[in-house]
Amino acid sequence: MDKKIKQLLAKLINESNKWLPAFILIVILLFIWQIICILASIPKWLLPMPTDILIELYQHWDLLLKHSFVTLYEIVIGFSFSIITGLIIGGFIAYSKTLEKSLYPIIISSQTIPIIAIAPILLVWFGYGLLPKVLVVGLIAFFPIAVNTIDGLKTIDEDIINMMKTLGASKSQIFKKIQIPNSLPSIFTGLRIGMASSVIGAVISEWVGSSEGLGYLMIRSKPQFLTERVFAAIFLLSVIGLLLFLFVNYCEKKIVYWKTTSNL
């Protein structure tokens, strides 16, 4: 029992060692921010103090939480959508030369179209509801996921393919037993990039037209000079991003387990 507590304590110290420097730096920066605001007596509507933002978070917690959940919902649905389509289309392109030649150039060139430019059109077509947001998030996160999936499936040691062939493996066996597990680290890189951009996608689509969500709250609060509310919304957006990022990392550790086993 005593040993267990010691182990837990050691783990806690180890974890906090990872986070502590960044945490201290943030506290120092917030402190400087606060001091500058006080000394230069900057008006609240121009730059609120960190304490103003905290108070705003506390006072309007219900409102902020409600809109956070809307945005989180859009991100989760849109991101899931992009994972499914990114993996499937990426998989098909990596498996078939014909699809690679026909589909891949289109996907690449589609990236030259700024998603922000498409968002108003999606709004015209699909209205103010959830669908256009999910589509924007999905479109923006799809590309990094698909490209990294294709990359991971195709970047493979030729010798391993030959080894599999000499063991009598078929093309589909090589795909299933080698290419798929081999692609997982790369897929998770794509997921992390897609994750970050899907938060951006959700906010942009809410700016373009919506009646709820953190992006909507920001657009509404700005003309009312509720700058501290805009900051509170930004803070909550970064919390959402961070939580989802940690979730992706956690999944990676579980799924790509062999990357974490250390050398002896």
Partner: protein, 256 residues
Amino acid sequence: MDPIINIKNLTKSFFDILTNDYTVILNDIDFYINEGEIVSLIGPSGCGKSTLLNIISGLEDPDRGEIAITNIDVDNRLGELSYMQQKDLLLPWKTVLGNSILGLEILNKDKSLSEQKALALMDTFGLKGYENYFPNQISGGMRQRASFLRTILTDKKILLLDEPFSSLDSITRLQMQQWLLELWRKFNKTILLVTHDIDEAIFLSDRIYVMKSHLSTSINVIKVDLRRPRNREVVLEQSFLNIKKQILPMLGNEYG
């Protein structure tokens, strides 16, 4: 007795981007291996040893020439011979046990039976106690043995080994050579081994094919008349040195 592998007039060339022309790698090669033999293929790098092995295994096809392998349809030989490459090529996401049964897995054999087979051999392969380790947790020699176990478990009569020990340090390499001889006795295999280590070739083989650079047609064969079973002391004997003296001039300048 008919040879188990018989190759006649084998020719292979590759397209060379630099010279914009075909370069002949193997020119009119004749070659055979008897059942139960260990035969080495030795020569400077770039002489086509690995190409010859790739062709025998079925990964590549020759431009011209005949290949005959006992009880194997030559057109479908890929997957019928065991081929172990220079690198261990273990899959990082599988344990030692999982890697060793990969060949059986591909043949859709029953998993628990395959595992039993593999576990029974762990001791012979010096992997006992490491069954559930991942490749990046074990030493280079162990990885090579795990790769060997994967090759052996597919239970093919002919083993093609492409410089299997070249990535190991010299002490481990000596141990592995001795171990290979024990394995060969135990499992009754025919082995074709590519190497550029003359001592290794003499120590292991019944016969040695010596290849020169790819421009040369000739492939010389040397019979190794050393008694079996062999141990390490054999490398100090006069007969061993005589064979070495025979081989050195055949290799040309590159071994100077």
